[in-house]
Amino acid sequence: MSADKAIVDTATVEKIARLARIRLAEERKEPIAQDLNRILSWIEELNEVDTDGVEPLASVTGHSLPLRKDEITDGDVQGKVLANAPEEASGFFVVPKVVE
C-alpha cells in the first residue's frame, strides 16, 4: 500500500474546509495549502515502515468497552442543558431556518 502522493492545492483546501464547516478567506487558502503540504510530506516518512499484517491500534485501554444497565440515571435538567444556548425559545435550541 503506498500513499497517493498527495499534493494539496487550493481546490482541495476548499473541499476539506467545506467538510470541516470552516469558511476560509480567499487569501488564506494558498498558505494553508502550503502548510498542509509541508506537514503531509513530513508524514510520508511513515511509508518506510512495513505494516503488513499489523493490526491498527485505536485504543490503548486493553479492556473492552463496559456496558451499563439501560436505565435513567440523570435528566430533568432542561434549564442546565439550555443555559449556554446562543439562542433558545420555548425550551428549544433555535437555528436558522432549514426548510422553506
Partner: protein, 494 residues
C-alpha cells in the same frame, strides 16, 4: 511563621494540621501571589470568593478533625476542566462565554479531598500548542527569563499551570497531556509534571482534544507532592468508558524502597542530532545517579521512535477534527449569524471562533479522514502506533523504567514566529511516544543549561506501574538536588 509560599503542598498540609496557620491565611497568600505575578498571564480567571469560601470550609474540617488529603490547599485549574458555574473557555474565542453546569470528575475529586480552587489557568487553545501562544488570552510567560531579560515560553499546552506552580501563585495545578502538554512545560519551568497511565484520570468534563491520547495529571513543586495530587485526581469513573479500574500501586512504598536493584532502560534512539550539549550531559548524569543508587542500566532499543511524531500528527488532528465538530454555535459557544443558511452559520461561526492553529489541525484531520486518504494516512498511522506500543512492551520485559531527556531544548523565547509548523511540532519528540503507547511519564527538574534555565529528565514506566516511575523520579530528585528558583516568583526572589 516562615513565608507560606515557600512550603510544598505536603509541608503546608502538615502546617494546617498542626494549626500553624489556617487555610484562609494560606489561600490569601496565594491570591496575593497571583496578583503579584499577574504579568506572567498564567491565570485567565480568578475565583477569589469561591476560594475563600472553600478555605473557610477547610478550616472547619480541620477543627472538626476530619480533614481530607488535600484539605485547604490552594489549587489552580487548567481552563480545560469544566468547573460548575465558572467560565471554562479552553482558551478559545468560541467558548469565551461558556459556563459549565457541571464539574469535571478530576476537579470533583480534588474538591472532595478538600482542595481550594484559586482560578482557571491559561493554556493553548484547545490544548493545541507547545508554547501557550495559541491561547486567545495571549501566552503565559515563564517565570524564568532569558539572559538579558527576554520573556520565555512557559511551554504548552499547560503553560499557565506550569508557570503558576513555578511562580508560586498556586501550590499545585492540574494539567492535561496529549503529546507532552504536562511534561514539556514542567521541564521548561523547573517543576514536576506527570502524565499518568491512560485511563487513570477520568476524561469526563475535560474539553476533548484527542480522546485516545488525552490524560490529566498533576503539576507540583516536588515528587512527593506529585504523588499526593495524583492519588486524589485518579479514579475509576463510570462516566468515562476508557477509565481504568486497576487499583493504584503503592507509590509511597516504592519511593521509600528506592531504586536499588531496579533495571533502568536507556533508549539509544533518544540520542538526537543537534540536541543541546547540556541536555546530553544531564542525561548522562541521571544515569550515573541511578547507578550510584544501586540501579542497573540497560541499553534498550525503541526502533520506531522516529515515527512517533508523524503518527501523532495524524492521529491527534484526526481525533480533534471529530471532537471539535461539536462547536457549531447551536447548543453552546459563540454563534455568528449573517443571514444565510444553517451551513453558512456553522462556517462563519467556526471560522471566527477557532484560531489559526486549531483550524490547521482540524483541516489536517479532516483531510486524513476523508474518502480516499483514510487508509493511506489514518489507518497507516494506527498501524505504526501499534508498532510503537510493541517497542515499549518489549522494553518493559527487560526493564522497570526508562530514563530520557524531557525536551530537546530549554525554554525558548516567546514570539519567535515559526515559519514551518513542523519545527514547532519537534518539541514533542521525547514526550509523544508515551501518549501513543498509553504509558505513564514524568518530568523531574534535574539541572540547568548554560543560561541557568531549568532542564528536566523524563521517567517512563509500564502501564499502571506508576510506582516504579515515582521511585526513579524520587531518586533523580534527591541526586540532582535541584534548587533553582525563577527570577519572577511571588514572595520575592532577591
Amino acid at each position: 511563621m516562615s513565608n507560606l509560599l515557600d512550603l510544598t503542598a505536603l509541608q503546608a498540609r502538615q502546617g494546617l494540621e498542626k494549626g500553624d496557620f489556617t487555610s484562609v491565611e494560606l489561600t490569601n497568600a496565594y491570591l496575593a501571589a497571583a496578583q503579584e505575578t499577574k504579568g506572567l498571564n498564567n491565570y485567565v480567571a480568578m475565583t477569589e470568593a469561591r476560594a475563600l469560601e472553600m478555605a473557610a470550609a477547610s478550616d472547619a474540617k480541620y477543627a472538626a478533625g476530619n480533614a481530607g488529603a488535600l484539605e485547604g490547599l490552594p489549587i489552580g485549574v487548567k481552563d480545560l476542566f469544566a468547573t460548575n458555574g465558572v467560565p471554562t473557555t479552553a482558551c478559545s474565542a468560541i467558548l469565551k462565554n461558556f459556563v459549565p453546569q457541571y464539574e469535571s470528575t478530576v476537579t470533583s475529586n480534588l474538591w472532595a479531598d478538600g482542595g481550594v480552587m484559586l482560578g482557571k489557568l491559561n493554556c493553548d487553545e484547545f490544548a493545541m500548542g507547545s508554547a501557550n501562544e495559541t491561547s486567545v488570552f495571549g501566552p503565559a510567560v515563564n517565570p524564568y527569563s532569558a539572559v538579558g531579560g527576554a520573556d520565555l515560553a512557559a511551554g504548552g499546552s499547560s503553560g499557565g499551570s506550569a508557570s503558576s506552580v513555578a511562580a508560586r501563585s498556586s501550590i499545585m495545578a492540574t494539567g492535561t497531556d496529549t503529546g507532552g502538554s504536562i511534561r514539556q512545560p514542567a521541564a521548561f519551568c523547573g517543576i514536576v509534571g506527570m502524565k499518568p497511565t491512560y485511563g487513570r484520570c477520568s476524561r469526563w468534563g475535560v474539553v476533548a482534544f484527542a480522546s485516545s491520547l488525552d490524560q490529566a495529571g498533576p503539576f507540583t513543586r516536588d515528587v512527593d507532592d506529585s504523588a499526593l495530587m495524583f492519588k486524589s485526581m485518579a479514579s475509576a469513573d463510570p462516566k468515562d468508558s476508557t477509565s481504568a479500574h486497576q487499583p493504584l500501586p503503592d507509590i509511597d512504598g516504592a519511593m521509600a524502597a528506592g531504586v536499588k536493584g531496579m533495571k533502568i532502560g536507556i533508549p539509544s534512539e533518544y540520542q538526537m542530532d543537534g540536541m543541546d550539549e547540556t541536555i546530553i550531559k544531564l542525561w548522562q548524569d541521571g544515569q550515573a545517579w541511578l547507578k550510584d543508587a544501586g540501579a542497573e542500566l540497560v541499553e534498550i532499543s525503541l526502533p520506531h521512535t522516529k515515527y512517533a511524531l508523524p503518527v501523532y500528527y495524524i492521529i491527534a488532528p484526526a481525533e480533534a477534527s471529530s471532537n471539535l465538530a461539536r462547536y457549531d454555535g447551536v447548543r453552546y459557544g459563540n454563534r455568528i449569524e449573517e443571514g444565510g443558511s444553517l451551513d453558512d452559520m456553522y462556517e462563519i461561526t467556526r471560522a471566527a471562533g477557532f484560531g489559526d492553529e486549531v483550524q490547521r489541525r482540524i483541516l489536517i484531520g479532516t483531510y486524513a479522514l476523508s474518502a480516499g486518504y483514510y487508509d493511506a494516512y489514518y489507518l497507516k498511522a494506527q498501524k505504526v502506533r501499534r508498532l510503537i506500543r510493541n517497542d515499549f512492551d518489549e522494553a518493559f520485559k527487560q526493564v522497570d523504567a526508562i530514563l530520557t531527556p524531557a525536551t530537546p531544548s530549554a525554554a525558548f523565547p516567546l514570539g519567535v514566529k515559526q515559519a514551518d509548523p513542523v519545527t514547532m511540532y519537534l518539541n514533542d519528540v521525547f514526550t509523544v511516544p508515551a501518549n501513543l503507547a498509553g504509558i505513564p511519564g514524568m518530568s523531574v527538574p534535574a539541572g540547568v543549561n548554560g543560561d541557568g534555565l531549568p532542564l528536566g529528565l523524563q521517567i517512563l514506566s509500564g502501564a499502571f506501574a506508576e510506582d516504579k516511575m515515582y521511585a526513579v523520579a524520587k531518586q533523580i530528585e534527591q541526586s540532582a538536588g535541584f534548587s533553582e528558583v525563577p527570577s519572577r516568583m511571588a514572595g520575592g526572589a532577591s
